[in-house]
Amino acid sequence: MQESIVRLNRPSLWKRFMRSAWSSKFLLLMLLPSVAYVIIFSYLPMAGIVIAFKKFSYPKGIFASPWVGFNNFKFLMMSNKLAFLTRNTLLYNLAFITVEMTVEVCFAILINELISKKFKRIFQSFMFLPYFISWVVVAAIVQAVFGYEYGMINGIIEGLGGSRINIYANSNYWPFLLVLFRVWKMAGYGTVVYLATITGIDPQLYESSAIDGANVWQRVRYITIPSLIPTMIIMFLLALGQVFRGDFGLFYQLIGNNAALLPKTDILDLFIYRALASTSDFGMAAAAGLYQSVLCFITIMIVNGIIKKWQPDYSLF
């Protein structure tokens, strides 16, 4: 009896929802632009994944294009390049992640231990400089430094009596060079992130370790590195979420369509761009894109899940 009265007096779910929405109407209004943006540029394209299962024709649009089932995926498989492209994309990204992280953490630790404040400041900003330019400019720099005819390094090699090296004609150099260029451009950023983390470490830890007679290696090993691990894991997870998505700017500006280099440097993103730009094969490009997104999603879910089980604080979500 009593219960039913309470239920009668209670406003309906809809009414309660509307009331709570009305009370935060301004907050909802403030979210409106960004929600609309994300719907238009992220969620609607997500629904556009259906293109991967259609024979997309540009004039007909997404809805009127006919369904073709898994044909686009079949073509993708039949081109025999999928495994090769996936492997390249994955291995390059893993190389970038590990080399970058090692270099960044090492430099953050080294810079932190340096004594001269001025030197620290100047060289930190030197290292951060390449982060500020586009890959277009990096490509111009690479031509000036490594170019065959006029490149500085080839000039030096010839001056020393060696023979010139044409990096643009030999794909064997590129797995190494791409890692080099990527680290050159990105390491400054990560170093600053890790340095910021180090400045956040409680100085008492260092003081008491000094009293206990720890040497610099022990200090780094037992205080600095353990304090960096949470940041390292977050950076690692953020990078891993894109591990099947290549750095398009790097590969496009430095390799582009150079057929001599593609055997060692072709990645999914270049393939998708080519399918879109030169062959207009929208269906297959969309299928490759979906494949890439699904792989990324699965990877991050699994790895984040493992880390969550191991150390809930370190997981991304």
Partner: protein, 312 residues
């Protein structure tokens, strides 16, 4: 913060400099110097060789020693400045407008998502964050932009794609969390609405955040060539970096033609163009503003990286 720095300094001064520390610092100074120079010297190489004459460059290759000073490449670049001016105009306008909107949207969204009296904050956070985990890929997005939003050869193709980023929202959200909730609460008690609270109270307290987001957005807009490549074919609507890319590529294509032995008569006029120095001069012209502003803004970047520790 100040006292922490002071303690470290005192601790440093009092520490007896031991051999292991000396070895470590020797290693540190060497490696940091080498890497630092490797990061800066290429820029110097570009700048020096943009001021040399083409014949000297052809003869000596790229080097740090300026053998023959010449403004040939620059005078050629500015002989027909129309394309450069267009590209500059486009990039400057898009950078200013886009940065302003990007900062505003990210900080507003970040503020709402951390309001603890907003019941739907977790649902909306998931709504935004999910897009960083999964997306439709390039093709559906491209079709959306070209077929349904008429991006082709329109200025909004340069503006819209980078106007909003979930990463900026995460940074903003984390920063706003550090502003005491009591400010919002007391203003609410006084009868202020959420818009007033945000604009009159929260934004003025968020200047470090706005500076950081602004710098990151401005950098992204300034360095953008990708959206021009996808959507723009008209010369007067290209961004600066894409213009540079086109310049470099066309010079390269010309060179390839020459080496392949294409009819010399058709090309003779163009071959005499100072190609290499022109590339360098163009690079300097398009990158110059960033390098000049860099010493001023880089410390804000460094500060900014610390304010939004990236956890969702």
């Amino acid at each position: 913060m100040q006292s922490k720095g002071a303690t470290i300094r005192i601790a440093r001064r009092n520490r007896i400099v031991r051999t292991d520390q000396r070895v470590f610092n020797a290693l540190g100074y060497t490696l940091v110097t080498l890497f630092g120079l490797a990061c800066v010297l290429p820029f110097l190489l570009i700048a020096i060789n943009s001021f040399t004459s083409e014949s000297a460059l052809m003869h000596n290759g790229y080097s740090f020693i300026l053998k023959e000073f010449s403004l040939q490449a620059y005078s050629l670049s500015f002989k027909n400045p129309q394309r450069i001016l267009w590209a500059y105009r486009n990039t400057v306008c898009v950078t200013v407008l886009g940065t302003a909107i990007a900062v505003f949207m990210a900080s507003m969204t970040g503020y709402v998502l951390q309001r603890r009296d907003f019941p739907a904050r977790n649902a909306f956070s998931l709504f935004f964050f999910f897009t960083t985990l999964f997306n439709g890929g390039l093709v559906p997005w491209y079709i959306m932009c070209t077929r349904y939003l008429s991006f082709r050869n329109n200025y909004h193709a340069l503006l819209l794609p980078m106007m909003f980023s979930v990463w900026n929202v995460i940074i903003a959200k984390n920063f706003m969390k550090s502003i005491p909730y009591e400010i919002t609460e007391s203003a609410k008690v006084d009868g202020a609405n959420d818009l007033t609270i945000f604009f009159r109270l929260i934004l003025p307290l968020s200047t470090p955040l706005l500076a950081t987001l602004g710098l990151f957005s401005a950098l992204a807009y300034w360095n953008d060539w990708y959206n021009s490549m996808l959507f723009i074919t008209k010369e007067n609507k290209m961004s600066l970096q894409y213009f540079l890319q086109q310049m470099i590529n066309s010079i390269q294509a010309l060179k390839n033609l020459v080496t392949m032995g294409a009819s010399a008569s058709a090309l003779s006029g163009m071959v005499s163009l100072p190609q290499e120095t022109l590339k360098m001069a163009m690079t300097v012209i398009t990158t110059g503003p960033i390098i000049l502003l860099y010493p001023l803004v880089q410390r804000y970047f460094v500060k900014g990286l610390t304010i939004g520790a990236v956890k969702g």
